[in-house]
Symmetry: C2
Subunit: 399 residues, 2 copies
């Protein structure tokens, strides 16, 4: 039999894929499963987006410009300008989700064998994009005890080799919910300047901060040609299925190179670009309501977790994720048990074991990631499940 590629073998499976089949089985039995495992918000997609698609009178569903629809790019530049980010449309390329933006950034800036430093835990799919691009992720561990703050900048310096070409951060962070402070960002800025590195920044959750505005890496002075910011409409507008993102940089050589990768795949999806462009006409207070909703959920989630014996959850200040340490040895086994063996009033919860967010072997084994993408009533019900499950779990550790 003919062989698949080595990278096809090495490519990691989704860390929650194995669990998904257990969740399916539970649902087939009629069990209610509360999904706190993925970043799929339940917030309604703004009707202005769906209406824009419904009202289009196009006769031929044509390719758009490979860079994205021009009027859309211009409006998106206006959105950034309204946040004091100094970019124009020519600094922006529309991508097929943030996912493609990350892959294109790697392809355009890095060669096979190059290294980037990423604070772990980090969004598991970065590994897939790194593997696709043939580059290596060097993790620097942030700890739950510090609330997942940026590790000391010296630990970054210690990992820099001649192959290091960049640092990659996610701010606000998925999976930790941590928001980097201005001081931390300035430390990173000084380092990339000193060591001649790129700074890749995933800012998917920038509208969701519960302690003030998030500083975009695009506003860091003196490193304008080194910053590649990746954005997406998925979380901001609860439009994950639209697959519309953006790569933003003031570095014109990078834009030129990314443009060549964009041309090879011809065009982002046309209808969803129309939807995303419409979202930019939402009133400026649109995010207030969603932010308030997430803030309430966060408060509920954290206060419930705080009351559970042996559970430690540093309050996240952004995104809609929280990491928690549980009194169990192996959350992979615990999360599976929740789906296969545990029921409370014929319900259970699905949560993501944290091991998939670390690349350093053995880390995160007693941690989970919770996505607070359910309404408060459901979060309470889910926390009722977790609370009771931790009492019933036969392999609970005594702390």
């Amino acid at each position: 039999m003919i062989q698949i590629s080595q990278r096809g073998m090495d490519m990691p499976s989704s860390p929650i894929r194995k669990l998904a089949s257990y969740a399916e089985a539970a649902k087939k039995e009629g069990v209610k499963v509360y999904h706190l495992n993925i970043g799929q918000p339940d917030i309604e997609t703004p009707s202005i987006m769906m209406d824009a698609v419904r009202n289009t009178d196009m006769k031929v569903l044509e390719y758009t410009d490979s860079a994205g629809i021009l009027s859309f790019r211009k409006k998106l530049a206006g959105y950034y300008q309204s946040k004091q980010i100094n970019v124009d449309y020519s600094d922006i390329l529309i991508t097929i989700g943030g996912s493609e933006g990350i892959l294109f950034a790697f392809m355009a800036c890095l060669d096979a064998g190059d290294e980037i430093i990423v604070p772990e835990p980090f969004y598991a799919n970065y590994i897939g994009f790194a593997m696709s691009a043939g580059i290596k992720i060097i993790p620097i561990t942030s700890t739950i005890e510090s609330g997942f703050a940026l590790p000391p900048i010296e630990s970054f310096k210690a990992k820099i080799t001649p192959k290091t070409k960049g640092i990659f951060i996610c701010n606000p962070n998925n999976p930790t919910g941590y928001v980097y402070s201005e001081e931390e960002l300035l430390q990173i800025r000084d380092l990339i300047k000193e060591k001649d590195l790129y700074l890749f920044s995933d800012e998917a959750y920038t509208e969701f901060s519960y302690k003030g505005k998030v500083k975009s890496t695009l506003t860091l002075e003196g490193v304008e040609d080194r910053v590649i910011m990746i954005d997406t409409f998925s979380k901001k507008y609860s439009a994950c299925g639209a697959r519309i993102g953006a790569l933003v940089t003031k570095n014109k050589e990078v834009i030129e190179a990314v443009m060549k990768f964009s041309q090879a795949r011809l065009s982002p999806p046309t209808l969803e670009q129309i939807a995303a462009e419409a979202a930019l006409s939402l009133p400026s207070d649109y995010f207030e309501a969603t932010r308030q909703e997430y803030a309430n959920r966060r408060k509920t989630l954290i206060s419930r977790l705080e009351k559970m014996e042996g559970v430690f959850c540093p309050a996240p200040s952004g995104a809609f994720y929280a990491m928690a340490k549980l009194p169990v040895e192996d959350t992979d086994a615990f999360c599976q048990w929740l789906l296969t063996d545990f029921r409370k009033d014929n319900a259970t919860i699905m949560i993501a074991p944290a091991s998939g967010f670390y690349t350093t072997k053995g880390l995160g084994k007693n941690e989970i990631r919770l996505a607070y993408v359910l309404n408060e009533k459901d979060i309470h019900a889910a926390m009722d499940c977790l609370e009771e499950a931790l009492q019933q779990y036969p392999y609970r550790l005594s702390i």
Copy 2:
């Protein structure tokens, strides 16, 4: 200043990108430009597709399964079965256009440094996907004199090295319009079996054949685990902007590996999958009308070209492209001149120089590719332009 990657530099620009700015300039002057340069059909997208999107009542534009919507995959399997192709939904992964299908096939089956053999001229973007995957395309030249038939199978054998992992064909062919005969396909089948290779097959234009049914590589017996077929909704349903394609193979290891790349990018666009699924409910005679329309255009185009002195165009039997040899030394210069200097009744045409479809240096310099994606009246007007342009062109060769 920080450097972009070597692959970012090596990545080829779109061969017609340079011309696009001249076309824009002409249009700004009020000149009518007939576009025969790209495969963007003018046929109306079936209203059933747009209506399916309009009528959706989803409140949250969610991710779909990374493999694509299940009911869509099942209907697509039914479409293939109706064409006597023996696949079920588990052999099908929905991709973001045929483009992503090709990239994922390369990623899952080939490692950096591996080689694939591709008859040239070939679709220029294959180079971009090969470069993204770090693999090498080894061209085998087909000639306009032979109508771009498959080169002798011995010429393939002569190019096989220990690094050769596959053969890649496009059938019906873009840019040549050639449809491979069953005999040619059986020669390829025997070769991939003998030499332990994959067969990648881009069958985007399979519904557009003007000399009988196209044989899918998925029906080749004895190589079921070696064939990776790439399909797309772009051309069949005139829905290029939907960015919906499919990777189809009976090789379960390849499906598993591609699935991991699919999971990393989460989901194909949701709304466009809904549109594409709806297209599969079109009556079975849907393609008759479009095929007849393209057949008429083809006849018009070919008969006009045949009457032009010094022009040679072998009649294509599929897709909606024709390659023609012109009595000029350098079609890149000629195609530019058409946009910058030539006008007939305040109109001109934009066509693709063929050099971008060859990787062997110097080939295709006197050839062009014509996409007959305009109605017959416009094709006549475009041919009026070409005919007169060839008479006026100061660098015309005397043949």
